[in-house]
Every structure is written in structure tokens, then in C-alpha cells.
Amino acid sequence: MASGELTGVGRRTAETGTEPLLAIEDLVIHFRLYEGRARVINGVNLTIGRGESVALVGETGCGKSVTAKAILGLLPANAEIVSGRITFQGRDLLRLPAEELQRIRGRRIAMIFQDPGTALNPVFTVGDQLQDVAAWQGRPRAPLVRRGDGELRRRCLEILRLVRIPDPEGTFRRFPVELSGGMRQRVLIALALLGGPDLLIADELGTALDVSIQDQILEELRELVRTRGLSVLYITHNLGVARLVSDRICVMYGGEIAEVAPTGAMFTRQLHPYAQGLLAAVPRLTGGVGAGIEGRIPDYLNPPPACRFAPRCPFRMDLCDRQRPVLAQAEPDRRVACHLYPASTR
């Protein structure tokens, strides 16, 4: 019934050697503001393989969430996609008609929202919300009002069990305000899983929760993803989270990908000066706060002319203000965009 099963010809990537599930190529997104054009996303390249968990890491305002929203076609009205492609299962999401994209949302690509208490509709019970979504998902002409259906109910209870909600029947009848933050986050995961997506996008998952529950939920999700062979894009500013859940980390800075490396390798050694600073900034149990990086994220209205990190970079050279470094393979399995590595200077 759903047309998402189509698997066309994708591009082969350097990282995996197989066809990726999702490939973002040279994505450029500007925002039209009163003050002018904000050049937020400046040529992002990103791939996610089948069954792979990728973490997109960067500080607030670096364009992580914009990238995620671009995948789902949920950008605000003043955003303009200048160029680029987002290929998913062989189709370019940026050039898909709205109705096709609507069918992909939730069914092929689903987003797990973080829970600040407002991601669930406050006036409906958990059961109603799950069953509603299950009833209309993938059926654009479904009636606005759902009829009672035992099969639907069973499916939704099953999903609640899957995300380890202790009392599915009781939770079904509860309103979101009656649940704890952890339970609400689990319900949001259940909603995302309901359509049986191939790719999950988790935006700052668990950030609003306390750390022990956050870890617990992340572990459970990791397990779930592994057993079901799902691909996940984690959007996070928290390196601890990225380390826990991802196979590969993309460090983003100022609307560009600075460095891509397998998670283990990234934590052992960072190539890009920004990645080095980012990891050094993590507070450590052994005492003291991290070093931090001087300066602020670039002004997107007047971004630095070439390398966007140059103004904050301790290794800044003349070249950095003249020529933009490209994301290129510096070592096996690692790609970086910095003039310290000859491959980036083209």
C-alpha cells in the first residue's frame, strides 16, 4: 500500500562501501530574516547506512535541528533550500510532492521529540493519541474521527510494551500530564515506532529528563534499534549521549560538518580543532570544568568568508580566510574539513 518500499539507485559512499539509507549532499539552507539572509546551512554532507546510528553533535545554533527538519520537510516558512539533495531510499526528499512526503513521515522516517511536557496533546489520553495515529498513518484520506477497533488497540498496547511501559493498560487511559517525564518520553518513542519506520530521528532525546532516566531510555532505545535493525540520527549537544548511542559521530560547526569519525576513534583523538575544543570542554569527574572554546558561533548574516571556524581557531592560517576547506578523507574512515590536513585544501 505504501509507496515507500521503492528502493532506487543510491550513491555509494566512501565510509561503508554500500548504498546508504539516507544521503544528504551539499545541502544549503538560508533563512529570510528582517535583517537579511541568514546563511545557516552551508553545504552539509551526511550519510546514514542501514542499521547505523549516527550522532550529529554540535553546540546550540550550529544547525543540527535545521538539518533534521529539512529531512522531514518541516522547515519553517522563511527557510529556503538553496541547493542540495536529500536522497532517501533512492528518492530525493527535497523534490517530492507534499503528499508523498507526508506519507513518508512517520511511516519511513519518524522523529522522536524530546519531552519538555508539550510534545503530546494535553487534551487526549495516551491511548487515544496512539490509536489515532495508528488509524490514519499512511492513509491520507482516513476520516478525521476514528472508530473503536480492538485490533488497533492491541497493536498500540503492544508498542507500549515494546518501549517498556510497566502498565500499558493503565497508561492507555491516562492523560499526558498524569505521566512522569520518563513515561512521556517512552510514549513519544512509541508514537515514532508505530508506523514501522526505517529511519528514526531523535532530537535531543531525553535532554529534559534527569540523567539516570535519560541513560536508561537511551540504553533501551539502543537495544530496540539493534534488534529491529533501524537506522537512527541522534541530534545532540551532549557528547556523553553521542558516545552511548552512536556508531559514528558527525561534528557540526556553523552549519557545516567539521569532522566525521567512528565514535570510538572520535573519542580517542580528534582531527578538527573545533572537535578538539568540543571534547576538551566536557566537564570531567576528576575535577574542573573543561577548557571551552573562546568566542561564539558565527553570525549567519555575515559569516566568515572561508572557514567558518577560523575566527575561533587556535591554528588559524592566512589560507583559512581565503579558501574554504572541504570535507575530505584525511585518514582511513575519517573525514575532516580543515586546512591542517592536505586533503581538505583543494
Binding site: 522531514l72 518541516l74 516558512a77 507526508q102 506519507r103 513518508i104 513521515r105 512517520g106 511511516r107 519518524a110 522523529m111 521529540f113 519538555p116 511536557g117 508539550t118 510534545a119 503530546l120 496533546n121 494535553p122 487534551v123 487526549f124 489520553t125 489515532d132 495515529v133 490514519w136 498513518q137 499512511g138 491520507p140 478525521l144 493503565g170 487511559r173 491516562r174 492523560f175 500530564v177 498524569e178 513519544l188 508514537l191 515514532a192 508505530l194 508506523g195
Partner: protein, 302 residues
């Protein structure tokens, strides 16, 4: 029944408690309770009119000139009008007309205004601009003047009066809902719903609208009084219900010619309007206080 289902910690019990809490808050204000009582009495009067009225036949075509213009007495508690009809009986039947008028007018106003406000607010863009500019034009004309113009153009009947008032009333609901939608559509659950593949119709009517009901209900209650007042005003001017319909405004118009000597013929229908409007206003204020607290708590919880 709820006792059986009230297992400790059970969601249903919590919900019952929520209602009880709202009721408790509502009953803290004597004025709210007074408003509710008046409205309940009005509804009972309307429903049970044939039973309650001492002379049900006096509500329709009935003439007994021998007993015309009698002052209040044990036989006719509120006196009689020029045709000898019992004023109390006619006021009780009048409640039917006024409530029907209010319900019909507001049903049309909500049925038209709410979807337009939803569409204007959620679709936005050119469609939204057009809807809101047309709404502004309607809002620029006082409702009573607009209703007067419409009834004057149509034949003066009760039905036409309802159409005329509804015609003047829907833009207020469009405005109200529009404002609600603008703030609600920025909520995360709306975006979450979009990310799951919901269509914009579904988001507008199934996600946003259910969250916008409480201000609509409050406004509806407050408006009941004003609509009744407007309807009686039109009837008083001869543009609404026609004699011998026991419409309160019509009754005032008929009794007015005998003022000040036969004071009861115009005064009691006037008091009926006054009490009805007062009742709905007090009830509406009470509901607003209760809902506002709800909303405040909800915001505080998040």
C-alpha cells in the same frame, strides 16, 4: 458507578477528582452559582413550559377582552395584557423562544466562525489574510446595526431575525479561534503530529481545535445573554417575532403603549430579559475563572 471503577491510582478516579476540583472552584463564587441557577431555571422553564404555565393556551392565539389589563393578582400572578392573556404564562413560553434563538444563532456563528478561524490561523498565507480581512469588515459594523439591516432587507420573522444575528455574530468566533490557533500551532505537539504524517486538516481539527474549546465555551455562555438581548431588541422594533408570539421583546412592545398606568405588561417581560442576560453573564464569568485557573496550572506544570 464511579466508585466501582475507582481503583487507587486509577486514571478514571483521577479524572473524576479533576471535575470535582473544578466544581469546587466554581462553587466558591456565589455569583457563579447564582448564574448557573438562573440558567438552570430558564432551561427548566423552557422545557416544562406547558406544565409550569398556569394558562398554557395564553401563549398562542387567545383573546379574553373581559379580563384584559388586569393587575397582578392571585389568579394572574403577573397580571394580564391587553388581550387578557396571562403574562406569567407568556413569559414562561417566551423562555423557549429566547433560548432557541440563542442556541440557533450561536450554533450558526460557531459552525461558520470556528472553521474559518482555524483555517485562517493554521493555513495562514493569502487564504488566511482574505478570511481575516473579511472578518474585520464585519467587526467594524456594530452587530445590532448589521442585524437591523439584514432583517429590514428580509421579511420580519423570527427565523430571519436569527439569520440576521448569526450573520453579524460569526466574525467574533473567527477572531477568537484565529488568536488561539496562532499560539497553539507553535506548540510542540503540533509539530510532532506533522512529523508523524498528519495532514493539515487533521492537525487543525483534531489537534488544535480540541485545545481551543475552553475559551469558545466561555464566550458562548457570555454571548447567550447578548444574543437574547439582541433578538428581543429586534422583536421590540417589530423586525423579529410577530404578535401574538410570546417573545419577550414583542411583549414589551405591546405593553409599552399602556405605560405607565398598566406597568406590569411591559415591566415583567423586561425583567425576564434582564434576569436571563444576567444569568448567562454570571455563569460565563464563573466558567472563565475556572478555566483560567486550569490553563494557568497547566502552564505552570510545564
Amino acid at each position: 458507578m464511579s466508585e466501582v471503577l475507582a481503583v487507587p491510582g486509577h486514571a478514571r478516579a483521577a479524572r473524576g477528582q479533576e471535575w470535582r476540583k473544578m466544581w469546587f472552584r466554581f462553587t466558591r463564587s456565589p455569583l457563579s452559582v447564582a448564574g448557573l441557577s438562573i440558567v438552570v431555571v430558564l432551561i427548566l422553564a423552557a422545557v416544562l413550559a406547558p406544565v409550569l404555565a398556569p394558562y398554557p393556551r395564553h401563549a398562542g392565539v387567545f383573546v379574553d377582552f373581559d379580563r384584559g389589563l388586569q393587575p397582578p393578582s392571585a389568579r394572574n400572578w403577573l397580571g394580564t395584557d391587553d388581550a387578557g392573556r396571562d403574562i406569567l404564562s407568556r413569559i414562561i413560553f417566551g423562555a423557549r423562544i429566547s433560548l432557541t434563538l440563542g442556541v440557533v444563532v450561536l450554533a450558526i456563528a460557531v459552525g461558520l466562525g470556528v472553521p474559518l478561524g482555524l483555517i485562517a490561523g493554521y493555513w495562514g498565507g493569502r487564504v488566511g489574510d482574505w478570511i481575516m480581512r473579511i472578518t474585520d469588515v464585519f467587526l467594524a459594523v456594530p452587530p445590532i446595526a448589521l442585524a437591523l439591516a439584514v432583517t429590514a432587507a428580509l421579511r420580519p420573522t423570527l427565523t430571519n431575525a436569527m439569520i440576521a444575528i448569526a450573520f453579524a455574530w460569526w466574525p467574533w468566533y473567527t477572531r477568537l479561534v484565529y488568536g488561539q490557533v496562532l499560539s497553539l500551532k507553535e506548540q510542540q505537539f503540533v509539530e510532532a503530529s506533522r512529523s508523524l504524517g498528519a495532514s493539515r486538516w487533521r492537525i487543525a481539527f483534531r489537534e488544535i481545535l480540541p485545545n481551543a474549546w475552553s475559551p469558545i465555551i466561555v464566550k458562548l455562555t457570555l454571548d447567550m445573554g447578548f444574543v437574547i438581548l439582541t433578538g428581543s431588541g429586534l422583536s421590540f422594533l417589530g423586525l423579529g417575532a410577530q404578535p401574538p408570539t410570546p417573545e419577550w421583546g414583542t411583549m414589551i412592545a405591546e405593553g409599552r403603549t399602556y405605560l405607565p398606568g398598566v406597568w406590569w405588561a411591559a415591566t415583567f417581560p423586561g425583567l425576564a430579559i434582564f434576569v436571563a442576560v444576567l444569568g448567562f453573564n454570571l455563569l460565563g464569568d464563573g466558567l472563565r475563572d475556572v478555566f483560567d485557573v486550569e490553563i494557568e496550572q497547566w502552564r505552570a506544570a510545564n
